[in-house]
């Protein structure tokens, strides 16, 4: 009986690892999509209402997913670093660079600056989306399969 319980535990664990990796992929995709959405909304705001960044973040933070919301709150309202841990070093550097430079230029230059970063973020969002579409479901299946194989071997 205990042996079956352990096997069941192994199967569940390996499957949940797959789900976890899939969840990271979803979060990364949502994060980059939010980043692009943020750039677009900010450009529109700068061109019309010209809210200061902190005011903009306070007003519109709820329209973003949790991970991105936490990061913009952390950076623009609390002046801390990025919190989202599933970014690669290169991505983190690019986003930090964007956030740090934001707000230091007059209107037209600022919009141009955001647009150039937005193109980079669109690429990131696209590759995160491709990654998810390619491997999101596969990784769950593979991890379940790996669990099942381990179980069979142990049996």
């Amino acid at each position: 009986m205990i042996k079956y319980l352990i096997l069941f535990g192994i199967l569940c664990s390996s499957t949940s690892i797959g789900w976890y990796i899939r969840k990271i992929m979803i979060e990364r995709q949502a994060y980059f999509e939010d980043l692009v959405k943020f750039c677009e909304a900010l450009k529109q705001n700068i061109g019309s209402k010209k809210d200061k960044i902190s005011i903009f973040v306070m007003k519109y933070q709820d329209s973003y997913h949790q991970a991105f919301r936490q990061d913009i709150q952390s950076f623009f309202l609390e002046h801390h670093s990025l919190q989202f841990e599933y970014l690669q070093e290169k991505e983190k550097k690019e986003i930090m660079d964007f956030f740090t430079r934001l707000g230091s230029l007059p209107m037209h230059e600022e919009i141009a600056n955001i647009t150039s970063f937005e193109l980079v973020f669109q690429q990131m969002a696209l590759s995160a989306k491709t990654m998810y579409e390619k491997y999101g479901n596969l990784v769950v299946k593979l991890s379940s399969l790996a669990g099942a194989i381990i179980c069979i071997i142990l049996l």
């Binding site: 010209k50 200061k52 707000g103």
Partner: protein
């Protein structure tokens, strides 16, 4: 507010200064910080106010740029219109005057870069400071068209603000429109007026007087319009238009006294056309806000 814009060592130094007395903080690149309290200037050292230049805190170029960026709340695009006019309006009616290299493109000013000097002016509400002159500015229960004049830093805006307060208290149904170009009168910040003004005030902030007068008269039907620091031909034109529309105007202007005002070519119409019925002259002879006299439209002194 200082916590938001200054580095920690400045905050520490300012914590040893009586902030309620502070009028000005002057920052110049690679120069000691100068503060003015109660009309007296001295340096700002790590331990507070000092007369020893060698003990004063010196401002670095990067430090000054950071102060301006922080004052703009990391949103230079939002304040560029102010920046090209040489100032930033901060919280609580605090005004930051800015000097630097002006960037032009096809003849128009685009922005200011390489900022070299900053002058932070801190407003103070002096409750009831207008009471001595208030009765002289009234006629048959209506306020007269009034021009407050003095050199910079002699309390024109403070007097104007208190006049708004007194008018609000005494004549609560008089509609008072405040054209606050630099947000100094009302301390307008993110839609909130921080300094005490009357309850019957409508505020148009952060725009030219021409715009504020034209649109304000049309849309708000004011009885009295108040504005600060008239300077441009457009400002005088806007006031003339308001006066012919039957709206009373209370304004301020930079001029040492009546004779100084008469000497300035572009302001000669003001006196010649008798646009104002009362001129209040201020100085800092016996402290900021000393009333040197009130004059009528014929420039006869009617109150000392």
């Amino acid at each position: 507010m200082f916590e938001k814009i200054f580095p920690a060592n400045y905050i520490m130094a300012l914590s040893k200064v009586n902030l309620s007395m502070l009028n000005e903080i002057r920052l110049r690149v690679e120069q000691p910080i100068v503060i003015m309290a109660k009309g007296e200037s001295c340096y700002l050292g790590p331990h507070g106010a000092t007369l020893d230049k060698n003990d004063a805190l010196v401002v670095g170029k990067k430090e000054l740029e950071d102060i301006v960026l922080r004052s703009a709340d990391y949103s230079m695009y939002a304040i560029n219109d102010q920046l090209i006019r040489g100032y930033l309006s901060l919280e609580g009616g605090v005004r930051m005057g800015i000097c630097g290299e002006v960037v032009t493109e096809q003849g128009s000013i685009k922005t200011v870069k390489n900022i070299t000097s900053v002058n932070i002016r801190i407003p103070h509400c002096v409750k009831n400071c207008s009471l001595p002159v208030y009765p002289v500015l009234m006629k048959n229960g209506c306020v007269e068209n009034t021009l407050i004049l003095s050199s910079p830093g002699c309390g024109k805006t403070t007097l104007l603000r208190d006049l708004a307060m007194q008018l609000g208290q005494r004549q609560p149904f008089v509609n008072l429109l405040i054209c606050d170009e630099r947000c100094e009168i009302t301390g307008m910040s993110e839609g909130n007026s921080i300094l005490h003004i009357g309850s019957n005030c409508d505020i148009i902030a952060n725009c030219s007087k021409k715009y504020a007068f034209e649109n304000g008269i049309r849309s708000m039907k004011p009885d009295v319009i108040m504005t600060d620091e008239i300077n441009l031909d457009d400002d005088i034109e806007a006031i003339k238009n308001a006066l012919t529309s039957g709206v009373k105007v209370i304004a301020t202007i930079h001029a040492k006294d009546i004779y100084d005002l008469k000497k300035k070519e572009k302001f000669q119409d003001i006196v010649k056309d008798k646009m104002f019925s009362r001129y209040v002259v201020l100085s800092n002879r016996n402290g900021v806000g000393t009333c040197e006299g009130v004059y009528n439209e014929n420039l006869a002194c009617i109150y000392v």
